[in-house]
Structures are given as C-alpha cells and as structure tokens.
C-alpha cells in the first residue's frame, strides 16, 4: 500500500517519462492504473432495503470479490480510451483501400438514428403492437434487399456475413433433406472468401475446390465436370475476390440446377452491382449481404455487422424464425414456419445495424445506389490502370470494384507485399488487403470504394509509385517500415509461440 503514495506503477511511470512522444504517448493497461477506492460510476439511489447476498444465498455460491478489477475515476477512463482511440486508423482518419471489405464512409446521420431512444431502449419481448415502427423498418428493409438482389424473400437475422452464409447453407441442407436427398459436397472456387470453405464444413459438407482459369473466373467446363448428384451447392462470390465479374454465372447456374443443386452467392462484393444487375436474375438461389460493407454501416473495429440472407421462393420455407410479416396494416413476428432451419440468434438480428442500413438506402434511393456502384467501379479501374506500369497485375483486364496487384516486380529487390503495405502506413494510408486471394502469390488487393474523391485516389497512386521507386533505390525504407507510428513491426511469431492472452497480477 505504501507504494501507492508515490506512484501506483512506478515502472510504468518511469518508462513513460523516458519518451517524449507527443500525442503518441504510451498508455498502460487499465489494470495498471487507478487506486484503491477510486470510483467512476454512480447508481440510482437506494430506495429499498439493502440486502446482503448471504441472506439469500449460501456463501459457497458467492464470490469473494472482483479483486483485479480496475478502480478508476471517470476522467481516468475517458483519458484511457481516448488515448487508445488515437492509436487507431478508421475510415474517418483517411483512405482505407482494404480489398473485399468495402471500407466506405459511414454517414453520421445513421449513427444518430440508431441511437434514438425509441429504438435503442426497446426490449425484444415488447408486444408487437408497441413495436410496429421497428417491425415496419425491418419489413421494408427486407423488401429493399430483395429488390436490389432480385430475390423473393429475406431474413435480417444473421449477425455477420459468415453467419448469413451459415444460415444460407443450412437452408440448402434443409431443402435437400425435405426432398429426401442427402448430398455430401459443396463446390467452392479457389477465389472464394475463407469463410465459404469453413461455412461449408460447419454445415457438414465436404468442400471440393474449383480452380479458376487464366482469366481469373470459374471455368464452365470445370463446373460441368464436377457437378453431380452428390453436390448440394456451388458457393461463388460475384464479383469474385480478384475483382472480376463471373461472366458465366447464369450458365453455371443452369448446370448446377440441372443436377438439382443450388447456387449460393457470397454477396460481400455487392457494392459493384447495385442497380446494374440483379444476382437473382443470373440464377442465384441464395445470397448473403454484408450491410457493414455495401450498405455503409461501420465495421466497429471488428463488428457488429449484419448479414441478411436473400433467397428464391424454393428456399423461403426454410428461412429462420421468426419471419417479419405484414398482414393488412399490421406488422408481426411469424413463428409459424414449420420447415424453418430454426434460429441463428437469440432474437431477431442486429437491429442497431439494420437501422443504419435502412437509413442509407433511403438516403440513396435507386439512382443513388446505382451511382455508388458506377463510381466504385470507375475508381477501381482508374486506380488499376494508373498503377499497372509500376506493379504487376496478374489479370490484366477491366475490373469491377477492386483490383489485385502483386509484389512480383518488387521481389527482385527483396521487398515483399508486407513491406509495401507497412511503408504505406508511413505515408498515412491504411494498407490494402494483403496475401489474399490465395490464388495470387503476394497479393495486394485494393478497393477504393465510391466515397473516395479523385484527389485522394491520386494521392494514394502517387504514393504507391513513390514506394515502387523506393523499393528499387532504398529498399530498407520498406523493410524497416513503419517508422512513423506508435508501434514498429510487432513480433507475431512470439505472440503465437508463447501466448499471453490476458493481463495477470503476478507479472
């Protein structure tokens, strides 16, 4: 206790004093701060008798205390998390060309509406006649998403893209079972998202990989060859992870349908297609949509997202319960879906996220969404064409909303994709997606999105060109990057070899 009189954590204080780092100052863990008796909260006044838990519960069921929990005043908490936030990079900080993640600007009005008390304070078991507004919102959102994708029915329950995929594949499984069919395999192209592969195995299917062709798309003849009565579905991403449109999708769908299978579409890249083409028209039977990508809801540093699933009529009976329905002028939760796969979540979906996506669609309208896709594709093609003399472009053709380069040119100077990515950080940009898709060695996958102006993209392009020059002339600048950040490169091998996954007192 005596130590507290001077400094709770002398070592931390000493450590901090050593560095004059301006705004990037170090910040100890929340557990390394505060002091006995400090308080950062207040509770409603006690208006009933204060009970001792021992009056009701045997002491064997009670905890001694929350010994290692922090004790901080409110200002301590605010400074701590404010400082942490300053070490982060978000879409609001700058250009974030993370491929396949659609890091577009997140309109502020939608943040405001999701926080409105009449949404944020509603209990999920509120009687339906008192939650008509939110049910209407969900119902209308389902309709908008069905219209945009060209599908018949929608569930907004899944919490993220991968959760939607799982729901979609379970509906496929349930539909096949209802026909008395038990199929074993799912076809997945090598350009698929990693989640597609793991989803198919979580849904108890064996994955069969399809190699994409020299043009970067799924070859029709390969599908024909692999498709048989054992295959439940093909999972395609369109546009695929190379940023290319799957030109043969409608023909692929014909082949798959002829053998009684389903076409699953990963809609993560829907930002390229709104108002241009409906995936449902191309023969897709089931598609998930990432609202936290295409429909501008923020990623939250890793969630929450929302992954609604849209299906054709044939799969509609298998949608999760409850459905959101309209009877006359009344909106209701319908649990009467005897063939439903069941529930994906305890309640009805990530409503806070749905509200933001609904607000976005209403702000844009049909013309606005089409404009989004047009400009997203224009930005990507512009970026691609301007950079292709400086970086190797494995698939040299028009792209959709994103493009994929590699480090093949820079490899000669012993500079890798990782080095290029880290050097971008020194210039104040978020790096692109790296080493993905796996079909391309050393991939740099760039998705500018429609919300980046020409000036921002030009600045990024010029920086990339500068980095290409540096790779040739002064490669150490890249290998040692980033240098102008709070943290230099981190030792990921050490983290995995000797995992320290929480703070403990002893240390």
């Amino acid at each position: 206790m005596e130590r507290h009189a001077i400094c709770v954590h002398e070592e931390v204080c000493r450590e901090m004093k050593k560095r004059d780092t301006g705004l990037l100052q170090d910040e100890p863990l929340i557990f390394e701060q505060g002091g006995e008796g400090r308080k950062g909260y207040s509770l409603p006044r006690w208006d009933v008798e204060e009970m001792k838990p021992e009056q009701f519960l045997p002491t064997a069921l009670l905890r001694e205390g929350l010994e290692d929990f922090p004790q901080l005043s409110e200002v301590d908490v605010v400074r701590h998390f404010t400082r942490l936030s300053q070490w982060n990079y978000g879409v609001d900080s700058g250009f974030y060309p993370l491929g396949s993640c659609t890091m577009k600007y997140n309109p502020k009005v939608n943040e405001e509406v999701a926080k409105m008390g009449g949404f944020s304070n509603i209990h999920p078991y509120t009687p339906e006649n008192l939650s008509q507004g939110i049910l209407k919102l969900m119902y209308e959102l389902q309709g908008f998403l069905a219209e945009i994708t060209g599908m018949d029915d929608v569930t907004v329950q899944p919490a993220a893209g991968a959760h939607g995929e799982l729901a979609g594949m379970m509906m496929v499984r349930a539909c096949l079972q209802s026909r008395g069919e038990k199929r074993k395999k799912v076809l997945v192209p090598d350009t698929a998202h990693g989640t597609n592969c793991s989803t198919s195995s979580v849904a108890s299917y064996q994955m069969v990989e399809i190699k994409s062709n020299e043009k970067g798309i799924v070859p029709l003849e390969k599908v024909a060859e692999l498709m048989d009565e054992e295959v439940a579905a093909i999972m395609v991403t369109n546009p695929n992870t190379l940023g290319l449109f799957e030109e043969h999708l409608s023909k692929i769908a014909e082949i798959v349908h002829r053998k009684g299978g389903f076409v699953y579409c990963d809609g993560a890249n829907l930002n390229a297609l709104m108002g241009i083409v409906k995936l449902g028209d191309l023969g897709v039977d089931v598609i998930h949509i990432n609202l936290h990508k295409t429909f501008s809801t923020p990623h939250g540093g890793g969630g929450p997202g929302a992954g609604p699933v849209a299906v054709k009529k044939e799969l509609a009976p298998f949608l999760p319960i409850p459905g959101i329905e309209k009877r006359g002028e009344i909106y209701r939760l319908n649990y009467d879906r005897p063939h439903s796969i069941g529930k994906m979540k305890a309640f009805y979906g990530n409503i806070g996220v749905l509200i933001k996506a609904y607000g976005y669609i209403l702000s844009m309208g049909s013309e606005g969404l089409k404009r989004v896709s047009e400009i997203a594709v224009l930005n990507a093609n512009y970026l691609m064409k301007r950079l292709k003399d400086h970086y190797y472009l494995p698939y040299d053709q028009s792209c959709m909303h994103e493009c994929v380069f590699t480090d093949r040119v820079q490899e000669r100077f012993h500079v890798s994709t990782l080095d290029i990515a880290k050097r971008l950080i020194d210039y104040g940009f978020h790096p692109p997606t790296i080493y993905f898709p796996l079909v391309v060695k050393g991939a740099l996958m760039m998705e500018p999105t429609e919300t980046e102006s020409k000036e921002n993209i030009d600045r990024f392009i010029e920086t990339m060109i500068e980095i290409a020059k540096e790779a040739e002339e002064n490669p150490d600048l890249l290998r040692e990057a980033p240098q102008k950040v709070k943290m230099r490169r981190l030792d990921e091998v050490l983290a995995a070899r000797r995992p320290r996954l929480r703070w403990t007192q002893e240390r």
Partner: protein, 448 residues
Amino acid sequence: MNDFNRYIPHTEEDIQIMLEFVGAKKVEDLFEMIPKEYRLSKPLNLPEPLSEPDLLRHLQGLQSVAYSSFLGAGAYHHFIPSVVPALISRSEFYTAYTPYQPEISQGTLQAIFEYQTLVCQLTGMEVSNASMYDGASSLAEAVLMAERVTKRKKILISEAVHPEYRKVIQTYIDPDQEEIILIPYKKVEGRTDEKRLSDLLDGEVSGVVIQSPNFFGVIEDLHPMADKVHEAGGLMIVGFSEAVAYGILKPPGEEGADIVVGEGQSFGIPLSYGGPYLGIFATREKFVRNMPGRLVGETVDLEGKRGFVLTLATREQHIRRERATSNICTNEGLCALMATIFLSCLGKKGLREMALMNLSKAEYAKKIASQIRGCKLVFSSPTFNEFVLRIQGDPERVLEGLKGKKILGGFTLGRFYPEMKNHLLITVTEMKTKEEIDRWAEVLEKAL
C-alpha cells in the same frame, strides 16, 4: 445536384477525366463484361431518396414509446454510464476494420486484450476470445467445441437454459450426427434436476449445458453437477444471460466449468430490440486451440516495446479454411468495447454494488408480489433479479390490463413451457424505483 451526392465526392469533371483515362466513353462501358441481357434497363423499385432532415423525420416516426418494463428473459435494462456512448462514438474506434494491421490498430487491440482479461476475471477462466455474436450463438459454439475436444456426439442441456438459446443450439448442430437430450428442472426448486443429470450421463456425453442464473432467474448449484460431468469424461459448459449476477456470484471457473459462455448485453449495451449484443466465450488454457473466434495476444515490437496482435489465427477461417474451428469472422468488437468501458467505470466496487441493488430490488418485488391475493412465488431456490410468479387468471389478459397503464408487467412463460401457462417471469433491475415496483404490484392486483 442530387442529395445523395453528399456521400460521393466526384464532380462531373472528375468523372470525365477518369473515364477518359480508363478508355471508356460512358460509365456504362465499365460494365461490358456483364452479359447485356442481364443488365438492368429500369431503375430499382425503391423509394425516392431522402435528405437528411427528411430521413430524421421519417425515422423519428418509427420509434416506440417507453413503458415501465418488467421484462428481462435474456435482455436487461441496466444503467449505461454516459461515458460508454461518448467513447464508443470516437470514430477511430467505430470506423476501423478488424485489426489486421497491428501498427495502426493498437487502440482496438489493447482494448480487446483488456476485454479478454476482464472476462477471465469475471468468469474465473483462463482465456477469453474477442467476442461472438450473442449469448445464444456463443453457447452453440461451446457445444460444437465440446464435441471437438471430447470427440463425442451427445449433449445434455438443462431445460432451464433460455429456450431461445436451446433453439439456436438445435440449429447449429447436425441432427444426423449429434444428439441433444434435455435434463428436466425440479418443479419445486426451479433448479436443474441433478439426479436426472446423473442418470443421463454416460461415456457418450461430450458436454453438459447449465445456465446460472437460469431462465427462471434461479441460481444453480454448479459444483456438484460439474463433478459428475467430469467423472463421466464430459465438459461442463456454464451459460448465462444476465452477466451482472457475476458481480456477486462465484465465478463458474471456480465451480468446475470448462467453458463459460453467455450474453454480455447487460454491460453497457442498449436493448435495441435484441441486438447487436455481445457473445462472451471463455475457457481453460488447455483448450485454447479448439476455441472459436479471434484472440488478441501480447508481444513486443522491433524496439522491444509492449504491443498487441491478433494471434493463434491458425484456428481461424481465413488461414485454416475448411478445417477452421468456426466460420466466424466479423464479431461484435464494438460491443466488447462497450463492455470494457462499462466494466472499467464500474470497477471492483461498482459491479458488486449494481448486482446487490438488483438482488435487493428483486427481493423487494418478490416480497410485495407474494402478498397479492392470487399471486404465488413458484420456486424455492434463491434467485438473482428475476423470479417466477404464478397468477390466477389468464396471463395474457392480466398483461393487457397492465399495458393499459403503460406497464410491461412480465413475460408469459407459457410461451416456452406449456406446464407454466399461468406463470410470469418478472425482472427487476436497478433501474426500477420502489415507486414503480409498488405501482406494478398495485396494478397487477387489480388486473387479476
């Protein structure tokens, strides 16, 4: 110019220059690879775009009106310090992606490391992941993990586990390969029947799922059950939907739990009609490689400075693909941050005090409810902030009566438990004043 252009910065001139550069005459030319017959010729059938003020007006009109609510059953109305919404509104947090580039994501990474630590401290476990979708899906993932660890296919679940959580588990498992058996609850105590549990346990059981406090608000005696589960070689999975209870309850880790999963919504996350919430997932160190979801670990940078990174990713979908422990990718990061800030504010004393206030107010409500003629407390075991009340008369009619006075008087248990058709589940958190509780009782008495 259209209002929607506020989110698209391109001028007509920009577009012309860019089109020319890429060798296109008009924007449509960029979509030539899409077969012509599929390209849309007419606009999508969507409402006309709204300006910001019109959008605000429209959404204001969809809001619900607040009632005095005694609803809980897996979603709880607790106090949220203003610090929580203020801090999570920092856009460096909420507009960032998953922290794949650690050098510019230390804020998110350190906060998750703190979250993982808080979860371990709260649950008495050794490792926590960075979050799952919600309590129910977290529990379903725990069931799948128990199967991976034990290589067994039978799961026992207490009937007193939240019925919606059970439904989610049912969805997640493959009925052709896995079997679920329900353990009944004791009709007097409202606790899981540990004798029936013993009878059902055998060498095929991968895991046993017990919720505490359970769906009836009753606190389970976990330790004796955990011992039996371990004797049979299975894993003890402890779930919860009301995390605040652990401000006073013994951590499940000290009661023999192997996996602790639950709903973290009570920690600073608004009700929002059921989501987004926070799936908590914690386990023992020895099972870490079988765990689903992301993990943040401590390491050092080139200069030896402490820093944090995503780690043990070889379990995850983007590396291991079809052999991953789960397909989860995006989780509930911002909700985990809310919980971290909430717990940092409440701290060692506050969480305990909040839990005690819940207990005390619920006990007060129990006392006055038991004095109402036609009402009876059903279960004899201790409860936390929820309890089951049997009422005379049709519960739907009674709740309608309360609703007429702007009170959501409780949850009808008959919806999930046919044998409890005259039973209400009543929830009383610290947010209910004594006056509100008195008025609830008064109106309830009249409505019977």
